[in-house]
Subunit: 302 residues, 2 copies
């Protein structure tokens, strides 16, 4: 299956001066078939309908321990102080995310090429894939602040020049996700609807938006409408669980006042047939460590 | 059963200059027996152990609609503008709570005397009861901010002069409590442990603390310890559910980024044998609309 991408007229307009109509997406969510990889037909159908899939025990507890040690190493690596790939909490200065983490961690690079991930990403996107973005997230206990509702694709389209919603994210939990420690909330089925956002993108907006996003967020009216239409579900589960979710699903997270921290590895696979162009609604593309422009297909480690 | 209250040496020290030891409480949680009211013996035992009880369908959906209309009336009553009983959101100025609501609403006054509430409060506290505090809370969608972990009794003891933990709160939900719209979190069993807090109480502290509490909150070490010992549970359920919880249970709530608002009626019953004295750790008692000093027993409407 191939997408027909119209690069002359933007079919996903956003960062508008006034609220735009919601757009029902024409592109599939699942591009491959049950013959193409580990997901069976019912699993693919559920993913297409709901826009996300939770897989418990996706990695083992030994792997969780290993990656947790790797995260600790990255968060305390003094050679990374001041590195633009390291994002700190606005209030406390603690490390919140490390971007382009596959370049900084051999173990996470290997994970991204592991057949458990790579084969599923290829199957969902129906093509060779590459990593559009990779990062690890640290949400500390007590002071963890959430992210307001948004579609990742809206940002990737506007600011990175991603033509179509043919990307999928895999979030692997390294700590338990309880319903009450600031885990991800998704609106099942919302990935089929594209919500244009209001507000022009400022220059170098990513420097602020990765801490707190104010532009590229849908209106409260749009979120209210979608929440009543689709409802809200949470990504809960033990450490080692994986959440696969479509790039256009509406999601967000609340704060975390519990002592239970939340860490995860976050990998975004994009189809090589969906290579980035110029940003659709921003003065310049974001840096490569946020929106990778090298579409060399991801290969298993030999 | 009667409590032996030592008013010369404070057995519940707090607002200290340095962290104090946690204190295992000697007073019972449940003072009455199954013969004294609607709770049966297993329900009383569960309440004594866990420190809270959730009762679904506590009021009917017609009653929910009626009280919701009453809350709307109070929130928009222009004659209450500037009334000290009306607490507004720090950021938005919207009404967050209305105190002494039984004096402002005949319907809520009648509810507080309804046998469903009064008989349970008397049974749990093993005596005649009166209302220490009554209020309605409005947590709007999107902008709802939570409350950090705390024990109500710590505040009522320190700032209102409540001698012993012989009070119980009843929170009646007028909107659904989902796991994700900022509902109450409790630590089951934590009501048996009293956690002294650090920091001297400023004058007129209630004017700020009802919006955001900074003194009278336990240390992160204490909360971490208790969260691992007791775990965390959430008060979830449809509109019309009631949560009965002991005055000393550790509880808190996160923020609410969903469109789903959260409103409730909150009634605190105190034993008439537990009348307020001078505050144990504050320059002066809080106003009567926050900590009522009239111990006239609450009677059913005839």
């Amino acid at each position: 299956m191939t997408a027909t991408i119209d690069t002359t007229t933007d079919v996903f307009p956003t960062r508008l001066s006034a609220p735009g109509e919601m757009i029902e997406r024409r592109q599939p969510t699942v591009w491959g078939t049950a013959d193409d990889g580990p997901f069976d037909a019912p699993a693919l159908e559920a993913h297409a309908t709901r826009g996300f899939t939770i897989l418990e025990d996706f990695i083992t507890s030994e792997e969780v321990a290993g990656y947790t040690a790797e995260l600790d190493r990255l968060a305390t690596d003094s050679s990374l102080a001041g590195d633009p790939r390291v994002i700190t909490e606005q209030a406390s200065g603690e490390v919140r995310s490390v971007f382009e983490v596959t370049a900084l961690s051999r173990a996470i690079d290997a994970l991204s090429r592991d057949p458990r991930l790579l084969d599923r990403a290829r199957q969902l996107l129906g093509s060779e894939v590459y990593l559009h973005q990779s990062r690890v997230n640290y949400m500390p206990g007590y002071k963890g602040t959430g992210f307001y509702w948004h579609s990742d694709f809206e940002t990737w389209h506007a600011e990175d020049g991603m033509p179509a919603p043919r990307a999928v994210s895999c979030s692997i939990a390294l700590t338990p996700n309880f319903p009450y420690n600031g885990g991800l909330m998704v609106m099942p089925g919302s990935h089929r609807t594209y919500v244009p956002c209001v507000g022009e993108t400022p220059e170098n907006y990513h420097e602020a938006s990765l801490k707190e996003q104010r532009i590229g967020v849908p209106s409260e009216d749009a979120i209210t409408d979608m929440a009543h239409r689709y409802g809200v579900e949470q990504f809960t589960g033990p450490a080692g669980s994986a959440l696969w979710f479509d790039c256009n699903i509406m999601h967000g997270s609340g704060n975390n006042i519990t002592p239970f921290p939340r860490s995860n590895i976050f990998l975004v696979f994009n189809s090589v047939e969906n290579a980035l162009t110029d940003p659709y609604a921003a003065p310049a593309p974001r840096p490569d460590h946020i929106g990778n422009r090298d579409v060399t297909p991801l290969r298993p480690l030999s």
